[in-house]
């Protein structure tokens, strides 16, 4: 039934076509030609698109296929976020003369001198450090000894400011000088140079509660400028509870390589601190102790230089390090005095230096020499000139050390020294010291 209907329709259509005139035919042909043309154009366009798509796919494939995914170091549990922890164990055996109230003749004592002999454990340092977030990094160093835990450092520093700018806020070892930033376990000798003890007291380092801002110049020569402001409580300043700042510092560091085997850094620093009621013992004309209390300004200038050599720059086997620093300190103010003395003006101008060289001659052995000298300089007590003794003295000390390292993390050191830092006393010292670093592998400064 359906078939026959279709046949009929076809027949009718063909009949209609036969009946059409030539003019109609021409029109139809023209229409068909038009259609053909447009279809051909479309097909050509489609073909072109296809070719394009194919080539694109090809190029994408070849470019992107081999990029491997990044796999960062992964630690499974939540404690992966714990800070880097390291602990420094340090102790010594010391043979020296017993000198209670050990100090440096001609210099105001900035705390108690180290007079411990025999076996003793030095400060045990606990270091915690981690990135806070993408913008900040924090670090705390707690020094523990005999029932005390001191916050040696507790600061955060910027990671994301850029343009060579670095910001550090909190309690930090000031970047003035060279040795000042280094903790005792990084020292090349068992003790700090006399110069640092005279400048900054018993901890032999200037620690500031405040803000440090530094800028590294965009040059191939290393040039760094820094400024610090803060509480200024560290000797030669004193802690004063007031608004504003108690101390400030400026410094510049310059450094570079010379060839592949040599590198150096030089620096100049300026430190200003204020003191009020900084008490110290003086000796009056009669030989008795007089209690003096200083109030005024203290200005310290420092110059430092470090030069390191290693054959081919490979310090793992052999290397040599020379380091030297010089300081001048000027103090101006008034002295309040209790004893056989009066209140007077107080002006001093004192200086000192040290130079040391340390040679690592095998991967495990190093030997070093240090010589240092201070100059008690000018001490003007004004109206007290007739009442107080002015010791004019040049304290000297010479030290020699040799140390052995089983690995990067353990070291044993033997040091002998002839200490003439006190007038009329020659103290021959022998120290055997160990330094052990546990935990995270902290990077050390140059």
């Amino acid at each position: 039934m359906q078939k026959s209907f279709a046949m009929a329709a076809l027949l009718a259509a063909s009949c209609g076509a036969q009946a059409a005139s030539d003019a109609d035919l021409a029109a139809i042909r023209a229409q068909i030609d038009d259609m053909k043309k447009t279809y051909e154009q479309r097909i050509a366009a489609l073909e072109q698109k296809l070719v394009q798509a194919e080539s694109q796919a090809k190029s994408e494939k070849s470019a992107s296929a081999p990029v491997p995914a990044e796999s960062r170091q992964s630690v499974a549990s939540a404690n992966a976020f714990n800070p880097e922890v390291s602990l420094i164990l340090q102790g010594q055996f010391r043979h020296a003369r017993n000198i209670p109230g050990r100090g440096i003749t001609g210099f105001v004592p900035g705390g108690q001198g180290f007079n411990t002999r025999g076996f003793s454990v030095d400060e045990t340092e606990l270091v915690l450090a981690a990135n806070v977030d993408p913008y900040w990094r924090g670090q705390a160093i707690v020094a523990m000894v005999d029932g005390q835990a001191n916050i040696e450092e507790a600061w955060f520093q910027s990671l994301a400011i850029g343009q060579g700018v670095g910001l550090k806020v909190g309690r930090y070892r000031s970047s003035i000088g060279y040795l000042n930033e280094q903790h005792p376990h990084m020292w090349d000798f068992t003790d700090a140079p006399l110069m640092y003890q005279a400048m900054f007291g018993e901890d032999a380092s200037y620690v500031q509660d405040g803000v440090q801002l530094k800028w590294l110049a965009p040059t191939s020569l290393f040039v760094e400028f820094g400024t610090e402001v803060g509480r200024g409580a560290n000797f030669p300043g004193t802690d004063r509870n007031n608004n504003g700042t108690g101390g400030g510092a400026l410094y510049v560091h310059v450094g570079d390589d010379v060839g592949v085997s040599h590198s150096w850094r030089a620096g100049a620093s300026w430190l200003k601190t204020r003191a009020s009621e900084r008490s110290g013992d003086f000796v009056d004309i009669g030989g008795a102790t007089a209690q003096g209390s200083f109030a005024g300004d203290s200005t310290t200038w420092l110059a430092d230089f470090v030069w390191k050599w290693a054959p081919n720059g490979n310090s793992a086997h052999r290397n040599f390090k020379f380091q030297s620093e010089y300081f001048v300190r000027e103090e101006k103010g008034g002295l309040t005095c209790v004893g056989a003395c009066v209140d007077s003006s107080y002006q001093t101008n004192q200086s000192g230096w040290y130079a040391q060289g340390v040679y690592q001659f095998t991967p495990q052995w190093r030997a070093g020499l240090r010589y240092e000298q201070l100059d008690s300089g000018r001490r003007d007590f004004g109206a007290n000139a007739a009442n107080l003794m002015v010791d004019s003295y040049r304290p000297k000390k010479a030290s020699a050390m040799v140390d052995y390292s089983w690995s990067e993390f353990s070291r044993l050191r033997l040091q002998v020294a002839q200490d003439k830092s006190m007038f009329g006393i020659t103290d021959n010292q022998l120290t055997l010291q160990y330094v052990m670093s546990l935990g995270a592998h902290g990077a050390h400064k140059f």
Binding site: V223, N314, H317, P363, H444
Partner: protein, 298 residues
Amino acid sequence: MKHFIFACFFGLTVGTAQADLKVFATVPEWGALAQEIGGGKVKVYTATTAFQDPHRIEARPSLLAQARQANLVVAAGADLEIGWLPLVLRDSGNSAIQPGQPGYFAAANFVNRLEVPTTLDRAHGDVHAAGNPHTHLDPRNVLKVGAALTARMVELDAVNGAAYQAGYQAFAGKWQTAMARWQKEAAPLKGVPVLVHHASFVYLTNWLGIKEVGALEPKPGIEPTSGHLTDLLARQQSAPAKMVLRAAYQQDGPSLWIAGKTGLPAVLLPYTVGGTPEAKDLFGLFDDTVQRLLKGLR
């Protein structure tokens, strides 16, 4: 003619101005790779040479000054540079190259690391928590790192992206051909037992099927001791090695001592680009490494 000179001069000034991406590479091998990819579009500073122990570099002032100006730090990673690089990065005042930023690239993150320790204890020496960091001595790793480094360079300097892609494609093509050649040449090395100074050749021995039977360092990072070397000599009876390998930056004393006692050849390998006069670039590094190993076998 005038126009030609002008065009040359203009091209020159533009050319130098375009050397935009400043790359700070911690080690020669990745510095060389960045140069292969970047060609004239990058300026590569390499912080260390083949004669320096990459574990024991100091945070020198010159390194800080270079890091300050870098757009991209290419490090070996896996804690190889832990004793100095973190300090250089933090004190550089350069926010773009801090870990976590696109400007910090650690090669070891893009390969399968070997010798990842299951227990972390310094009683085992200076072990790296993330595994052995000397990844470049397997040429397949060089290719992987190259692909990832290219992607990173394109991300940082899109203007020259096509040039980096092209640079990598050209390098990868040549590298694959060379790799086939090295593998063919090094076929006799398969299964050969060797002693090494430090665990710096794990990826090389793994690639070529060389058998590492002992290290002169008693523990990684601990200097060879006479006691340990004597033990190695004793072991030579039961499990004999055929060569003693050391890198250009390692002391020759211990391997020469072993060589003198046993008659084994002490083979110095360039370890990285610049380690021997022949290892001028990455191709030279592997050409020379394979040749020196084969010579040691003879």
